[in-house]
Amino acid sequence: MSVLLRLYFVFARIGLVSFGGGYAMVPLIEEEIVRSQQWLVAEEIVDILTISEMTPGPIAINLATFVGYRIDGILGSLIATLGVITPALVLVFIVAKFFFYFRDHPLMETILRGVRPVVIALIVTAAVLIARSGINDWSSIAIFLASFLAVAKLKLDPVMVIVISGVVGAIIY
């Protein structure tokens, strides 16, 4: 099997079994890319992860693009990215198709009433996890509060808020 085909299937498998966010992919990537295929060494994975954190974009796509590039240039990154999104594309597509049929069912509605508060908790948890590393001095607290007010009260565009706080970061750090 050619390298590209193997790359596609390895990343399709990673995309299929990783639950909940790009970070969940990391142990799988280590297993597949480092141990089983030996395409990269462990330190390179750490570098890739650092760069993924330092650049915008979903981490899963960043990881796939970077690993793919290391293995076979632009074509490799294209194939790896396609691989990692394929399972989601197929599965979510099927679920999305049926979900909106069943959503009106009374039983489904009671289930969703229990699930929605959990979703709120999930979102707050994600914020807490990022805050643990991202909010650690007075200026970061100030940026946090200012951004919060800017979006909640002034209705500023979220993208604008990210850009402004990024510029502030470049100046003060």
Partner: protein, 194 residues
């Protein structure tokens, strides 16, 4: 037992202009997703439920619940789901393409110039400034959803209990979602909203 009619957004009439608009929206969202798939949610909410009424708030919450319970990453799953809901199959194609393209371009460039980018201090400072803002932004959907969903004490208990379980990493998120749904069948069965 009165089960309130669910609010559902209308499927939009297909047009190439709309497709282009959706691609650009997702491109912008992909370019400003900093620090994982959850950072995407405030941007999607802003673009799809506030600036354009292409999704209702309830649909947005339900989509998050489902994509979290499925394999695959939040960013890609959410893009597929939202794309499908708003514009069907062509919507899926442009949403995924739009969301993936910015990272694809940026990472390819970085991979090419790897050694020089490694010690680019300015990038680190920019992101250090952006991260607290991302925390604030991620909280926005939680508040907006909370306003609509939290109506009784039971809802508050659900939020507090699942939040404690999740923050301390006691159970996997998927387990908490499924448990929430099962408990919902008992606790919210006869409840009337509004």
């Amino acid at each position: 037992m009165a089960v309130k009619e669910l609010q559902e957004s209308q499927r939009l009439e297909f047009s190439w202009l709309l497709l282009l608009k959706m691609f650009l929206l997702f491109f912008k969202i992909g370019a400003f997703t900093i620090g994982g798939g959850f950072a995407m949610l405030p941007l999607i909410q802003d673009a799809f439920t506030i600036k354009n009424q292409w999704l209702t708030e309830e649909e947005f919450v339900d989509i998050i619940a489902i994509v979290q319970s499925m394999p695959g990453t939040i960013a890609i799953n959410t893009s597929v789901f939202v794309g499908y809901k708003v514009l069907g199959v062509p919507g899926v194609i442009v949403s995924v393409l739009g969301a993936a393209l910015p990272s694809f371009i940026i990472i390819s460039i970085i991979a090419y110039f790897f050694s020089q980018f490694r010690d680019l201090a300015i990038m680190e400072s920019v992101l250090k400034g952006a991260r607290p803002a991302v925390v604030a932004l991620i909280l926005m959907p939680a508040f907006r959803i909370g306003k609509r969903v939290i109506k009784t004490k039971r809802h508050i208990i659900f939020v507090v209990v699942s939040l404690s379980i999740l923050v301390f990493g006691i159970l996997h998120p998927v387990v908490v979602i499924v448990a929430g749904g099962l408990l919902g069948m008992f606790f919210f069965r006869n409840e009337e909203i509004e």
